[in-house]
C-alpha cells in the first residue's frame, strides 16, 4: 500500500510528540499551586512549544494542500471515509485553534510571548480581564476536545492495524518493514 510522503510522516510525528508534551506540561504547570520558578519556567516552555506546533501546523497544511495523501483501501466503506476525513479536518482545525487560543489567552493576561526568550511575538491585543477568563476556558475546552479526538484517532489507527489489517496505519509509520 502506498505510504504518506516522508515530509508528511515527519511532520505528523513531530507534531504528535510536541502536542502530547505540550498538553502534558499544560496539565502539570497549572496543577502547581502558588508561584514558583519551576511553574514560570514551565509556562514559558509550554508557550514556546505551542508556538512551534502552530508554525509546524502551518507548514503541514501547506504540504497537505500540495501533496495528496495516499488513497484508502478500496474495501473501506463510504461512511468510514467520511468519518476519517471529518476527524482529520477537525484535528487540522485544532492544531491551529489550540495554540492560537493559548496565545491570545496569554496576551489577554497581559503576558506577551517571547519565543525561546529571544524573539518577542506580536502583541495583537491589550490585556483584558474578561477576555482572559473567556480565552482561558476556551483554551481548556479546545484541549479537552483535542484529547478526545486524538484518542479516537489512535483507536481508529489500531482498529486498522489489528482488526482490519488493511495497512492503513502503516501508511503513516516512520519506518516501513
Amino acid at each position: 500500500m502506498q505510504r504518506y510522503s516522508s515530509v508528511a510522516i515527519a511532520l505528523h510525528w513531530l507534531i504528535a510528540v510536541l502536542i502530547i508534551a505540550t498538553f502534558t506540561l499544560g496539565l502539570v504547570m497549572t496543577d502547581i499551586p502558588g508561584l514558583t520558578p519551576t511553574k514560570l519556567r514551565y509556562f514559558s516552555w509550554h508557550k514556546w512549544a505551542g508556538v512551534t506546533v502552530l508554525a509546524l501546523a502551518a507548514l503541514r497544511l501547506l504540504w497537505r494542500l500540495r501533496s495528496r495523501p495516499p488513497a484508502y483501501p478500496a474495501h473501506m466503506p463510504a461512511w468510514q471515509r467520511t468519518v476519517a476525513h471529518s476527524l482529520h479536518g477537525l484535528l487540522y482545525v485544532l492544531m491551529f485553534a489550540v495554540p492560537l487560543s493559548g496565545y491570545f489567552y496569554s496576551l489577554a493576561a497581559g503576558v506577551p510571548v517571547v519565543y525561546f526568550g529571544l524573539f518577542p511575538l506580536p502583541t495583537l491585543i491589550e490585556a483584558d480581564a474578561a477576555l482572559k477568563s473567556t480565552l482561558g476556558a476556551l483554551h481548556y475546552w479546545l484541549n479537552m476536545l483535542l484529547a478526545a479526538l486524538v484518542a479516537i484517532h489512535v483507536l481508529a489507527a489500531f482498529k486498522h492495524l489489528l482488526l482490519d489489517r488493511d495497512g492503513v496505519m502503516q501508511r503513516m509509520l516512520p519506518f516501513s518493514r
Binding site: G34, L35, L40, R41, G110, V111, V114, G117, A127
Partner: protein, 183 residues
C-alpha cells in the same frame, strides 16, 4: 514685639513662602506601575492604591516637594493567585511592610517642562537614594507629572530565596508613574 518673637514670626513667614502650594492629586488620572522582565517577557503590574502629595509652583520649582505612598498589597499582576503570592514574605512582605514610600529631597528645574528629582525611596524597610527626570505638562487646570525610575529589586530584597535568580525575574524593575494634580 520682642526680638525673639519677631524672629520667630519672620521664620514662619519665610517657611510659608518657601513652600510651593500643595496640589490636590487626581487619583483617577494618576497611576503607578512596575515593569519587570520574567524570562525576558516584559510584564507590567499596577499598584491600585497609592497617594501622592505634590507641592509645586511653576514660578518656584526649587521649592517643590513630592511624597508618594504606595500600598504594596495593592499590586495587581492580573491574577488573584499571583497577587496573593507577591504579598508574601519573599516578595513584598506586605504584612510587615504595608507601604513603599518616596520622599523628595530636592527638585531642580532642568529645562522646559522638565525637573530633576532626587529623594529617598523606601521599599520593604530598605531606603535608597534615587534620582530621576520628571516631565511636567499642563492639562487644563491640572498638571501632569510623569516619569520613570529604574531600580534593582534585589537591593530592596524583593524576591528572596530561590527568587534571587535573575535569569527567572530580572533584577531591573522600572517604576513608571503619572500623577495628575491641580489646585
Amino acid at each position: 514685639m520682642t526680638p525673639l518673637r519677631t524672629l520667630f514670626a519672620a521664620a514662619l513667614f519665610t517657611a510659608a513662602a518657601a513652600h510651593a502650594a500643595p496640589l490636590k492629586t487626581d487619583l483617577a488620572k494618576s497611576s503607578v506601575s512596575a515593569t519587570f522582565k520574567q524570562m525576558n517577557v516584559p510584564v507590567e503590574a499596577k499598584f491600585k492604591t497609592f497617594s501622592a502629595q505634590i507641592d509645586y509652583d511653576a514660578a518656584k520649582p526649587d521649592a517643590s516637594k513630592a511624597a508618594v505612598d504606595i500600598n504594596t498589597a495593592s499590586m495587581d499582576l492580573g491574577d488573584p493567585e499571583y497577587n496573593r503570592e507577591v504579598a508574601k514574605k519573599e516578595w513584598f512582605n506586605t504584612a510587615q511592610f504595608p507601604k513603599a514610600t518616596f520622599v523628595s529631597t530636592s527638585i531642580r528645574p532642568a529645562g522646559a517642562d522638565k525637573l530633576n528629582v532626587a529623594g529617598k525611596l523606601t521599599i520593604k524597610g530598605k531606603t535608597a537614594d534615587v534620582s530621576f527626570p520628571l516631565t511636567v505638562k499642563t492639562a487644563g487646570k491640572q498638571q501632569v507629572f510623569e516619569g520613570q525610575l529604574p531600580i534593582k529589586r534585589l537591593a530592596f530584597n524583593i524576591g528572596e530565596g530561590e527568587w534571587k535568580d535573575t535569569s527567572m525575574v530580572a533584577d531591573e524593575v522600572v517604576i513608571k508613574f503619572r500623577v495628575t494634580a491641580g489646585q
